[in-house]
């Protein structure tokens, strides 16, 4: 067993990254991710790494581009407004197929927004965000422990597919302190080689090139076909979710991240006090979205309620997955307003009432 420590989610993610063999961090201060940046500033140099505070998020992501292209395990972290500034770099990294891990501790928007937790960057995270046809692998933890585990694994996933992995967190789990069991430390020297990296030509006759420019249309089409084939492979191999009480559930709640914990508390109360058979379906990979698993689970139920700290973003993927087989309802609040358990209970009750058999179309 590893050691257990009381840690903030931000610190747990930083330490897990270092233990995964990440020795390079480029970032810019922004609330509520600054503890992650500060942890890296305190710890990386002493462990043979480099921490560098960039002049902007634009610069930070391009330093990540350079370091990733040079073959290193590298990370940056930011929050929503900063994540918007990184979209250009992320698009270039998708085109050049560079692996890295990026953390977005989401806060309320749009614009400068606020500092409180939100899930309103779901579209930006899962549908591209920058220009071009590309995907980030998006993982959404719902506790400091899961955040540490996902960050740790994210570096392997990023390297396996030469793709950016985005950890979509929020300030509840980034700031909350919980016991975390940390994964074992890996020696960066023991990691698989990256023969494609630009490290100096050495004995190679042909130089290596990290690039996303394809001036001939047929070449760019070929790149896009290759990327799409990779994305299909990722969908087949990296789709993740968790379920609670979904066996023989009459109703399903779909929620991710911190919202899933609130949903779970509400479901527990309703099962205990009112005997309602409600289950929780929690997507962990937001892209690839666990559409097939959700469709299978939803099929036997009377209705699905999606809960988000947004005005309704993931619910679109839920509807696409369920394809009208059962009613899909939405409950959400955003702007930094975190729904109370009691509000979640009410929302579930409402869905239950609206989807009870007596509300179904009368038999003619």
């Amino acid at each position: 067993m590893g050691e257990r420590e009381l840690m903030k989610g931000n610190e747990a993610m930083a330490e897990a990254a270092i233990r995964a063999g990440c020795r390079y961090f480029f970032g810019y201060p922004i609330t509520p991710q600054s503890e992650l940046l500060e942890y890296m500033a305190r710890h990386l140099a002493g462990r043979g790494g480099v921490f560098l505070q960039a002049e902007s998020e634009v610069s930070a992501i391009n330093m990540v581009y350079g370091a990733a292209g040079a073959g290193a395990r590298v990370m940056t972290a930011t929050s929503s407004p900063g994540f918007s500034l990184m979209q250009e770099g992320l698009s270039y990294m998708a085109g050049a197929e560079l692996p890295a891990v990026v953390v977005n501790v989401v806060r309320g928007g749009p614009g400068l927004g606020g500092l409180q937790p939100a899930q309103s960057d779901y579209f930006q995270a899962t549908k591209g965000g920058g220009h071009g046809d590309y995907r980030l692998i998006v993982l959404a933890p719902s506790s400091p422990q899961e955040a540490a585990d996902l960050v740790y694994e994210a570096f392997d996933v990023a390297d396996r597919y030469r793709n950016v992995v985005l950890i979509l967190a929020d300030s509840i789990l980034a700031q909350a302190m919980e016991p975390v069991e940390l994964p074992p430390a890996r020696d960066p020297a023991s990691l698989p080689a990256k023969p494609w990296a630009t490290v100096g030509r050495g004995e190679r006759a042909e130089p290596n090139l990290v690039n996303s420019l394809y001036l001939a249309a047929e070449d760019l089409w070929a790149l896009n076909q290759r990327l799409q084939a990779k994305y299909r492979r990722i969908e087949a191999e990296e789709t993740r979710w968790a379920e609670e009480w979904t066996e023989e559930a009459d109703w399903l709640v779909v929620a991710y991240g911190s919202m899933a914990r609130i949903a779970l508390a509400a479901i527990r109360q309703l099962r205990r006090e009112e005997g309602l058979r409600v289950g929780l379906f929690r997507p962990i990979s937001l892209w690839p979205f666990p559409s097939r698993a959700l469709a299978r689970r939803a099929a036997g139920t009377r209705g699905v309620l999606t809960m988000e700290m947004s005005t309704g973003q993931m619910v679109e993927d839920v509807r696409l997955a369920v394809e009208g087989a059962v009613p899909v309802r939405f409950f959400g609040k955003t702007g930094g307003v975190v729904p109370e358990v009691e509000e979640a209970v009410e929302a579930i009750r409402r869905m239950v009432a609206e989807t009870e058999p007596r509300h179904a179309h009368p038999v003619r």
Binding site: A60, M63, A68, A70, T198, V199, R201, N208, N211, L213
Partner: protein, 253 residues
């Protein structure tokens, strides 16, 4: 009687000799490429060099240099080069940027790379306009100079004044070496090569940030014959952008 013929010209091993560049006739980008490649070859570092191409006319530089390369987003080459150098401090890392890339959209990246004393070398091509997008005003466009976005000539009341990048960066403590050369005649080409050599030497000695600004011709977009374009550099650009070494490490002559 046998005669030994000695070669009077050889291609540099730093450039692909089998490729014709896309640069316009009379453009001095090719000269700048060759100087950088010759210096890297002479310093014996071609095998451990990583270059960064930028967005602009030199975007395809990676097709010509025989070194590992990364292509950066517009203006971001110094940040990309920083990422590479921090991971590979024993490699030679250079960025090759134009004036739109470096002095407009990428001003934050170049200033901060210089201020950090980042141990990289930047080759900065100043041709007083945006060449790739067919001749719009650049931060370096002279007052009165006609471009497609200053059709009546750059009017400072409306479009401000040109930026002297070498002088601007020379206000910082970070840089180790800053020089401005020109490519308008043979003597200046040879001088430019000496500057480029000293810049890479500064990097090899770990002295920190180095930049060589090169006044370069753009006959196509200036609407001039190649030879007239070289005259334009001498008569118009050099008086506004004085040549020489602005910053040298201690002990370097």
């Amino acid at each position: 009687m046998s005669v030994t013929l000695r070669p009077v010209f050889e291609p540099t091993r730093g450039l692909r000799s089998d490729r014709v560049t896309h640069y316009c006739p009379g453009c001095t980008h090719g000269v700048a490429h060759r100087l950088v490649a010759e210096v890297l070859e002479e310093l014996g570092v071609l095998e451990r060099t990583v270059g960064v191409a930028s967005v602009g006319c030199s975007v395809l530089a990676y097709n010509y240099f025989l070194v590992d390369m990364q292509e950066a987003a517009h203006g971001r080459a110094p940040a990309v080069a920083t990422g590479i150098k921090r991971v590979l401090p024993d490699r030679v890392v250079f960025a090759y940027q134009g004036d739109g890339d470096l002095a407009a959209i990428g001003m934050a990246e170049i200033v901060h790379a210089a201020a950090r004393g980042e141990n990289i070398t930047v080759i900065f091509i100043n041709n007083a306009n945006y060449g790739m997008t067919s001749g719009q005003m650049a931060p370096t466009t002279l007052v009165g100079q006609r471009t497609t976005t200053t059709p009546l000539g750059r009017d400072p009341a409306q479009a401000g004044y040109p930026i002297r990048v070498a002088e601007l960066l020379d206000t910082l403590d970070g840089p180790a070496y800053i020089a401005r050369g020109s490519l308008h005649d043979t003597a200046h080409v040879l001088q430019a090569k000496r500057y480029i050599r000293k810049a890479f030497q500064a990097q090899l000695e770990g002295r920190g940030f180095s930049l060589v600004e090169l006044l370069s011709s753009c006959p196509t977009n200036w609407g001039l014959e190649p030879v007239e374009a070289l005259d334009f550099i001498r008569e118009r650009l050099v008086p506004h952008y004085p040549l020489g070494e602005l910053r040298k490490p201690e002990g370097v002559r």
